[in-house]
């Protein structure tokens, strides 16, 4: 019976609304009523009395359908709420400060890694210095290389750090190179000294790659989680900042105002396989947004109800622990999903903006500067109603 009902109702709702709102709502309503029936005897008896009542079931299905439609309608608003919109100014202020601190940490990390990458430009010279020192003659004949000396100890330490995949600062490497160069210059070659030179060259190569990859990782993290420019506004939540990063990307790369042009861009993308991928990502995101809010509301409702009317401490503590964990996990998953969705949105700007210009009957710009000017002009005309001349592409 439930299968038939779901099939009939799914025909009334779009696929997106069905997956993103109907299914989560159905699951949560069923779970909450089941828990209520288990812990509240009068409710259990009431459900048992009405379980075969056709009028009651019809009314319940109708009420549920209306609730699902309302829930589908407010899904965007719920996501915006997660992005930090519509919150009281004081709370927003406190949260923005936290997000700015996060951004500052990332920016500092990014700068440090940028310095490291610059510092690692000395790597070829270090290798050459080591080689030259090795080939310097004469050596002090009675000297023997001590692997436990300053150079050897430092190289052992760096080898350990390399094994652990740790980042090694260029300054530390420079010190190791200086110390081993001094040794190589005066100490006759021995298998230990040779091995340390080979090892240090390996460490230099590893650090070169590691610093670069870390720099790219942190840069991407910074880029995909926050607006581009440090002076751009910061949202109160991580999700809000991912949303800002999309706007910031389109604006900084092409001067496209994504909020103004997104609907038009969607029209251009319709029918493309890429648009289906984008839609699927959006449905997944909406599904997780629904789960987050339903978990949050259910947990809060049960905690308040049990705290005021409950008699089972274990049930209360189980909900007090499992509820927030579920909410946090769903928020985290939604955040991951939003990152993926944001990337698809950025890609759609990259790939379809020229088609939008064509659709608007405007000539393709000849270069990036012309393009930036054109999008600025379009924004002024479309969003702010400024009247100035735009030449149209001649129809072929």
């Amino acid at each position: 019976m439930l299968g038939t009902l779901i099939e009939k109702l799914s025909a009334l709702l779009s696929k997106g609304a069905f997956v993103a709102s109907f299914i989560p709502l159905l699951a949560f309503v069923a779970a909450n009523f089941a828990l209520l029936a288990v812990i509240h005897l009068p409710s259990r008896l009431w459900f048992l009395r009405h379980k075969t009542d056709a009028e009651f079931i019809s009314a319940a299905v109708l009420a549920f359908l209306i609730a699902a439609l309302i829930f589908a309608t407010i899904n965007t608003w719920l996501r915006e709420l997660m992005e930090g919109r519509f919150w009281p100014a004081r709370i927003c202020g406190a949260l923005i400060k936290g997000q700015r601190d996060r951004l500052q940490v990332l920016t500092d990390e990014n700068r440090r890694l940028q310095r490291n990458v610059r510092g690692m430009r000395r790597a070829p010279r270090w290798t050459k210095d080591l080689k030259d020192a090795r080939e310097t003659y004469p050596k002090t004949a009675d000297l023997v290389y001590n692997r436990d000396g300053p150079a050897g100890s430092l190289i052992r330490d760096l080898t350990e750090r390399k094994k652990r995949g740790e980042l090694i600062e260029p300054e530390t490497l420079a010190r190791a190179v200086d110390q081993l160069t001094s040794e190589l210059r005066i100490t006759p070659m021995s298998p230990e000294l040779d091995a340390d030179q080979v090892e240090l060259n390996d460490i230099i190569r590893f650090s070169l790659m590691k610093n670069r990859s870390e720099f790219v990782r942190v840069f991407k993290q910074r880029q995909f989680n926050f607006p581009d420019d440090e002076i751009d506004p910061v949202a109160p939540t991580a999700m809000g900042n991912i949303a800002f990063s999309i706007r910031s990307y389109a604006r900084s790369r092409y001067r496209v105002d994504i909020e103004t042009f997104w609907t038009r861009l969607q029209k251009v993308m319709q029918g493309e396989p890429f648009y289906a991928v984008l839609q699927d990502a959006k449905v997944q995101l909406d599904f997780l947004v629904s789960l987050f809010w339903l978990s949050l509301v259910s947990t809060a409702a049960w905690l308040i109800a049990l705290a005021t009317l409950g008699y089972s401490l274990w049930l209360y503590l189980a909900i007090a622990i499992a509820g927030p964990l579920a909410v946090w996990t769903e928020y985290w998953l939604a955040l991951q999903n939003y990152r993926g969705f944001a990337d698809l949105m950025r890609s759609s700007v990259d790939m379809y903006r020229m088609r939008l210009l064509k659709e608007l009957n405007l000539s393709e710009p000849s270069g990036s500067r012309e393009e930036a000017l054109l999008w600025d002009a379009l924004l002024d005309r479309m969003a702010y109603g400024k009247d100035f001349y735009l030449s149209y592409r001649r129809s072929e």
């Binding site: 812990i39 509240h40 005897l41 009068p42 406190a94 949260l95 400060k97 936290g98 905690l303 109800a305 049990l306 705290a307 005021t308 009317l309 409950g310 008699y311 089972s312 401490l313 049930l315 209360y316 503590l317 007090a320 927030p324």
Partner: protein, 185 residues
């Protein structure tokens, strides 16, 4: 901010837990639907479910823990029937110059377990009645749910002798001569 939210949540959960702990000290008890005499064998039909319309996950005693047990005291109608009042065997004593006589309730007479009560008076009759107006002191069974049951009667010496001398004891059957219906408040 994060720690402030976590602290506020922990405080809320702590206060809720304290509130539940203090509330859970209160136990839900079945109440008597009518006046129940001492040594009464408790039946499901004697008990009213505890009033717990708003309680979530209350620890309710099971009515099976009550039924088939014996009250060690009188319980007024609407008063709680506490588990502490219940005993596995009735405690009774014959009055001076009387004797206890266990009258075995055969399968046809087991219905008396649902009807008879302590304090009622019964006759044992066939063509004649060797025992008349004998008080019931208890209805005792070997187990709360099944097994053999007897109606413990208090007989005078004369009644006992008449009963023992009666030739067709198998034909004797129980009849109520006086019922204590009590107050059902």
């Amino acid at each position: 901010m994060k720690w402030m939210i976590i602290s506020a949540y922990a405080l809320f959960v702590g206060l809720g837990a304290l509130s539940i702990l203090s509330r859970s000290q209160q136990t839900f008890e079945f109440t008597a639907l009518r006046d129940l005499p001492a040594n009464h064998r408790v039946l499901d039909s004697d008990l009213r479910e505890p009033e717990n319309a708003w309680a979530l996950a209350p620890s309710l005693p099971q009515s099976s823990k009550y039924t088939g047990k014996y009250l060690d005291r009188e319980v007024d109608a609407a008063a709680p029937v506490k588990l502490a009042y219940l005993k596995t065997r009735p405690a009774f004593k014959a009055a001076p110059n009387t004797e206890l006589f266990p009258w075995l309730l055969n399968d046809g007479e087991r219905r008396w377990l649902e009807v008879l009560d302590v304090g009622w008076r019964v006759d044992l009759c066939a063509e004649t009645c060797p025992v008349m107006d004998a008080p019931v002191l208890a209805l005792e069974c070997t187990s709360p749910t099944s097994g053999r049951c007897v109606a413990v009667l208090q007989l005078t010496t004369c009644q006992r002798d008449k009963l023992l001398a009666y030739p067709n004891k198998n034909k004797l059957s129980l009849a109520v001569s006086k019922a204590e219906l009590g107050d059902t408040k």
